[in-house]
Symmetry: C2
Subunit: 502 residues, 2 copies
């Protein structure tokens, strides 16, 4: 300390048992802060070895002594020891803020500027407000393909990379259609075919379930890179949660802010998808773009525009990318919500008669495409079907589940739904002409998804089916009575009925 | 508590001596959080009487008990007592977020939507990320005049309003030129003329000094509305810090986020200025728009466009608004930085021979305009000059300073500058053709402004002056040696010399 102002302090670590929702918080003594001209709007940079973090400053008059720095639980990652002396830098605005402002003002960003931003996001040197500024600016101003490629590369380079040999492939769906749980099926088929498919998934942002949310019913989804490599070396595949791997960590931090604002800028989404693929060393990828009136992408024109972007971005990144534009006029499969989707997946893999054929068909198309672009098969769909029908995909699935410390013998009926339910019946007879995806998603969220994993909707009827008055259309499941009651209330309004029957 | 999920909890208050830089933080026990499905990304709404705040949630396993809620110092405002039982609501996203998203997507906002946003900002029901989303969206997408008027009204209505009778006027400068400390002079002249001028000012965001930063050398600037009313009833005027008054409190919260991003969206600025004027019941206003190559507004076209907006907005708000476009090709006055600007103000009021004539001239023009638009004088400038030259303005100034609990007998030499200084001399002879405002501002910030109030620059020469080689151009003052040394270093580079001499 050097009198009434300082940029650099040496302080003793005092661990404080508090969590601030992922924000790195340090606590400084009020007298020290006054002496040093530190305000609670300043930031503190702590470096230890290769780990560095910028934290927000809280000020206390009694919680820590003048020569101490309190650190919240979030600092665990930096591996600070109680009582150890560390150097603390009081820092101002990050240099990347200039680049964020450039994007706000509508300018193109250079490679260096994008790397600056992603560096500072990765190492927590930007505040949530600054990340929000970046996200909103990118949403409104957009990015060109070169900017997006640089964004992707930066996100990958500042994180861990899963290095794998052999022919590594991946698939990704941009989301927007309920029940679309193809991943476990595609991974099982592809891994069985001899290709490597290290599949990482996210947890749900705005949908009833993410793949990671469902896979958790079978097995663990959190692994470090070392353990993950073992799983893939052994089985050729995996289906894990990306968040635990520190692959493209900036992406998760950006998504956290997007989530708060309920926005999903297209270029960020492109970069996010391709970063996940690039970070696991995949050189081939199939992207699923569901298109439907109530899906994320509403018309074919938008879907084709996005398709071109994915293919172009793939070229810039050295990833051979194929895009399937798929039908999202209604949910895929019968179950929506983590538990019910998990059941559907098992039905398909086990060739159970209750399996939803549309989910099976879609998984086969995606797997088939991967088999074709890698040159593994001329008739990819045919090979995929053979692998699935023979039970080899199910065997491979059990192998992967076991490697992921799960229970390979899990049966569909082992997966419990919420213990309160409601049967929604048709009030007229006729043919189902529409089944509104958006309403289903909304109802599932009201029922508790994605947090209440056993909540959800089972669709007994889908488009084209005949229905009689009084016949069961869908069953609603919830874990919490109030949520079920409120959802039933909503359903009383005719406009919230997802089914159109003529 | 009702089992494994709840929206509403009753908990015992436990005050925690921590500050989080203005963020309202509550601390919940980990077990309680797990039982109730509360995550550290959720928010807690605490209501007590008319006070309500949403806080961020920190989670601890030992800091508070299961039936307690820890509250940081920021919660003082809600007047919680240690040990009292309060109701805590765990809340999701605010309804205003939909409106923020509408603006992100480029749509016009209705009156209700804007009131929603400002309500939630005022009562801390939006996070910093959401406010950032709003600010950036408004910056990029803009607002029309009706939206801006609604924004202004909402900011005023959700705060305190200073109710005054008589002819209430105001002035405001949009900023962007250094040394422009006309306020104390204009207030003194106008209050002496019989008009009421309740002037609130901000602290500096990006300039070396705000008016509130300088007035503090004379007197207190923080008052509540009741005390302020007494000051104005007694003296017709005041010059106080707006932040202490809770006038348009949302504005301050928005500015705090703008500051973090170093942006200043035009419509937000318009609303901010007019809200300050409207919240003190002013029906007449003069706006100063400085124009210069290195000022905030660079050309006459922009200035005129902004002028039209101010006048139009004034009409929608029932405030007769006159706009003066003023010259900002160089700093106003000789001193830049809180202490040095304060001296200049005293020189002018005391008719001291050291007074900067450009500052005096500008203050007279602004005061004159106010006297004319209110019908107080046909030759406003003449009346203003008479009031200033006669010493009546200085007498009024002392009255106001006394009412603001200050020292009316303060002399220019009582205002100490930083005790370390550097004389910057000319290395050639000639005539000064340019004096770069932006460089002066940058140097002042390097010297420590606005935080180090006694730092700053005294300009011995201005545009048009003749100078000899070796003659003094400016004196740099600092409070902290390192800052002076670094600034001297910067000045060694020719491109950082603010003076052009031919």
């Amino acid at each position: 300390m050097n009198g009434n102002n300082c940029d650099k302090l040496v302080l003793k670590v005092k661990k404080i048992d508090l969590e601030a929702g992922g924000t790195y918080v340090v606590v400084l003594n009020k007298k020290l802060a006054e002496k040093s001209g530190i305000k609670s709007t300043d930031r503190a940079l702590i470096k230890k070895g290769r780990k560095a973090h910028v934290g927000a400053i809280n000020i206390t008059s009694s919680g820590v002594l003048e020569d101490e720095i309190g650190v919240f639980n979030e600092w665990q990652e930096v591996e600070l020891r109680n009582g150890e002396k560390i150097e603390v830098n009081i820092v101002g605005k990050p240099s990347a803020l200039e680049a964020v402002r450039k994007k706000i003002f509508g300018e193109k960003l250079t490679k260096t500027e994008i790397y600056d931003i992603i560096h500072d996001i990765t190492f927590n040197e930007m505040t949530q407000v600054e990340i929000a500024g970046f996200v909103v600016a990118v949403h409104i101003r957009g990015m060109d393909l070169v900017e997006t490629a640089n964004l992707t590369k930066a996100m990958v380079e500042y994180g861990q990379v899963l290095k794998l040999s052999g022919t590594v492939v991946n698939k990704h769906c941009i989301g927007g259609v309920a029940g679309n749980r193809t991943t476990p099926i595609v991974v099982s088929i592809i891994a069985e075919s001899g290709l490597k498919i290290p599949k990482t998934s996210s947890r749900s942002i705005t949908s009833p379930a993410g793949t990671a949310d469902t896979v958790e019913f079978f097995a663990d989804v959190s692994f470090n890179v070392k353990d993950l490599k073992k799983i893939i070396d052994k089985t050729n595949g995996c289906m894990v949660w990306g968040g635990s791997l520190d692959l493209a960590p900036a992406d998760d931090k950006i998504i956290k802010v997007e989530k708060q604002l309920s926005i999903d800028p297209e270029n960020q989404m492109l970069a996010s998808v391709m970063a996940k693929i690039s970070a696991v060393s995949a050189k081939y990828a199939v992207i699923d773009i569901p298109v439907g009136k109530e899906a994320k992408i509403n018309d074919l024109k938008d879907a084709n525009r996005l398709k071109e972007k994915f293919i172009g971005l793939g070229q810039l990144l050295g990833i051979k990318t194929s895009v399937l534009i798929t039908d999202a006029k209604q949910p895929i499969g019968n179950g929506v919500g983590p538990a019910l989707e998990t059941r559907d997946v098992l039905y398909v893999l086990m060739n159970d008669k209750r399996r939803p054929l549309d989910l099976e068909e879609k998984a086969l198309r995606l797997a088939g495409e991967l088999l074709e672009i890698t040159g593994k098969a001329k008739d990819g769909y045919g090979l995929a079907k053979k692998i699935l029908d023979s039970g080899r995909a199910y065997k491979k699935f059990k192998e992967i589940i076991k490697a992921q410390r799960g229970n390979p013998e899990i049966m569909p009926d082992d997966i419990k739904t919420g213990n309160i339910s409601f049967e929604f019946k048709s009030n007229k007879s006729g043919k189902i002409t529409k089944l509104n995806n958006k309403i289903i998603v909304d109802l599932c969220k009201r029922l508790g998804n994605p947090i209440d994993k056993r909540a959800g909707i089972y669709l007994h009827k889908k488009i084209g089916d005949e229905v009689k008055s009084g016949e069961l259309l869908m069953t609603l499941y919830a874990e919490i009575e109030r949520k079920l009651e409120r959802t039933k209330e909503i359903l009383k309004d005719k406009k919230n009925n997802p089914y159109s029957i003529i």
